[in-house]
Assembly symmetry: D2
Homo-oligomer: 253 residues x 4
């Protein structure tokens, strides 16, 4: 009856630098967002990550970011829509090369970090990204913050979209994420985080910080991939979802 | 009866930095090797260059290089075959994205600078590059120095290859290029350069520095794309080739 | 009686990419702002530029920018004050190395592009930059937009500052630069541009776009360094200033 | 009577990527080689590493490397002596900025990875590096592989040099390191590694792989800084050296 996709950012190592525990986390998720060399990742890391994702039956997507390796793509950069279009095509293409080399298709595209956040609110940027995705391959699914400009732009462009929620974030009465500057932005209790997700999937509702219920659409849940705590949570959320009669399955099938 | 491809390295600008006179040179050539962001080029330059190449009816290929922007990819870097495989797939893929966005196919791949030169003599590196090209798309044509390890590796991998000659270089009695360290490495006289190419195409022969005729296969001729002198030469060689009943045509048709 | 410094951004070439006509422009200016490898410039360009500046008797300053080579440091990046402090020290130090190697002192520091503009209005960023300059060498002179937060921060930190004006920009009645988005932001007439500077130096006044006179302090005038038009203007403004009994002299003596 | 310096490569983190356990290792060593942003390190990491080194009373040196972050500066790159000179000055200067900001002096310079290895055997490269160090500050001490071209070049340039040995490497009868391609290149037994160092310091002798004693000069011993095993070894070698009446002290005093 109910179905949900679990996604995680992977392939964030770079050269000698190791980040994340990709092989372990892959056993709990259904969609992998793979860094494309701008904010993290390098060609060799991309090849390895594509291969282990496919080996684990996990669908692969591009995770394009801003060209800011020092800042891990988390710092806003005032790029033009045209520049966004160009850097998204470049990065999708680069990952596409590794998928073609393995004889597999790309499932989705999810912008990373500051690019994701800027595109959630900036219509022109969102449209440029959606157009880039559509132009490279109209079968690609565009992942964006639930209810964001990026999701709207994707729909307008003719793409299938995936409304994304974050398991460990609280929501405001208007459906937006509580800003990280607020003390209650994060949910630290795993049980509570999982319950919130189950309710979002089954009832399309979330209890806001203001105490009111808010309607939220959700197609995919983002979980973290770094550290043993993240791994334990990944296993827990997958287990609870399945025990709650929710099929955990890649959005692209 | 006779047919030849004329190729040129394009898309070598970067950010505010302009290099080459791509629009002008495109009117004389049939295949464009487009830089992919490692030794030159950036996503916006790649998009623009792909578009003007297609607009001019010129076939497009990837021109992957070493990750050395300061050195323009001309300095040898001791990479492993696996690293070569990975960086070639990444760069082909990146350019592939822009071609897909324009609804066009990629014709060929030609490694750049030090990667091209290293692959001419290093069998393991040549095989890794050929495998990368084949895995991404077995229809791609691999350009390499005529008679080089790279061409051999391409044939062994099952790729169509293009034997490349340089209009302005002299040859040794064993068919190798005269090293640039030799005083007579370059042909400075345009007439002589063009005549040498015409003879290579029609007779598969070139007069070596030692005064003996050497057999050389040639499918494509590389010409330069920077400066007015290069442009004048491009126009001249195209004109003379056509006047010599040699069809100037992209190798991929 | 009257004295002014003429500064220009130099050393903006990178690898094979040439930008600017540094040797020619050096004959007209008194202070050179040398790019430090983040938005432009590389170690070899820095060495060469330091040497030709010193050879021409021009004082040298660091021109630190944002780590954005593709965007030439012109795109705002949301860095923290601590990150600004760190990247400014790094870049001053790097140029300092080349000056020490030549047995010379550094005169000044002028942030570049988006870093300069952000520091003109952002007090915390301005203070971080001023502290970085002071900590490396309290004798350094900090160049900033006349009347900006950066100049205030420099004074507060105990640095000598230089109020900078732009020869080809118009001013608003509150003393701010007319935004580039306005049609009359730029002065295209060389005579008018030079006259405005002469008046700013001699009377500390400028006629605003609103038709009122505004008081402006000026210690240094920024001129462009790319292209023959820029070179002609550099020669013209230097000539007119000297003919107007204004001594053109490096601010640091 | 006997004295030795213990050095370690530090500050090799980059952005979000953590490498090494610098704070712990600093308690056992006397000289820190700090990465300068080319092969590892970034401005913020440099500032932090300089501060914790100084706080622990450890002398600071620059650890310039090749511009190859993906390869961690370990892949040979065919740079010219002039390029080596320029990139070494740039990197020394950058670190110098952070030391000046802290009011401290730099003690030494030790090239990193492939730059270190190439300079051990390439006289022209070694001389360019030595000249760069001398020009920036003739008081700097140049660290190089014991008996290498780099040490010779440093002496010829008028620099104090430090002959460096590696605790965990074996030696050949001619005094060179056993190449890593040989099965016995590394000493895996900590006791044996420490004993070899003690003998090198006290007797200037090392037992070669061929079973003969070889004379070796040693001023500083390089130890690793990554992982708990490295930390345990650092503590052990320091303890044994001191118990063997060898003063462990920074080479610059």
């Amino acid at each position: 009856m109910y179905q949900i996709d679990l996604n995680c950012d992977l392939g964030e190592s770079f050269g000698v630098y190791q980040l994340g525990i990709d092989e372990e986390i892959l056993q709990s998720i259904t969609s992998a967002n793979i860094a494309c060399g701008f904010h993290a990742g390098d060609p060799s890391v991309m090849r390895k990550t594509v291969r282990i994702a496919l080996k684990n039956g996990v669908r692969v997507g591009a995770h394009p970011g801003l060209p800011d390796l020092i800042g891990f793509g988390r710092r806003n950069l005032s790029i033009s829509p045209q520049e966004a279009y160009d850097m998204v095509i470049y990065q999708i293409g680069a990952l596409y090369g590794f998928l073609k080399a393995e004889g597999e298709r790309m499932q989705h595209v999810k912008p990373h970090g500051a690019l994701y956040n800027m595109a959630a609110n900036d219509e022109a940027l969102a449209e440029a990204i959606a157009e880039a995705v559509y132009k490279v391959d109209p079968q690609l699914i565009l992942f964006g913050l639930a209810g964001s400009e990026l999701v709207h732009a994707g729909e307008k462009a003719g793409l299938q979209t995936a409304q994304e929620v974050f398991a460990d974030r609280t929501y405001q009465h208007d459906g937006s994420l509580t800003p990280r500057s607020q003390p209650d932005a994060l949910i630290h209790d795993d049980e509570q985080a999982v319950s919130q997700v189950v309710r979002m999937v089954k009832e399309n509702k979330v209890l806001s910080s203001q105490g009111t219920d808010v309607t939220v659409k959700v197609n995919t849940v983002c979980i973290h991939g770094d550290g043993l705590k993240a791994l334990a949570f990944a296993r827990k959320i997958r287990g609870v979802l399945e025990a709650s009669e929710i099929t955990v399955k890649a959005i692209g099938g």
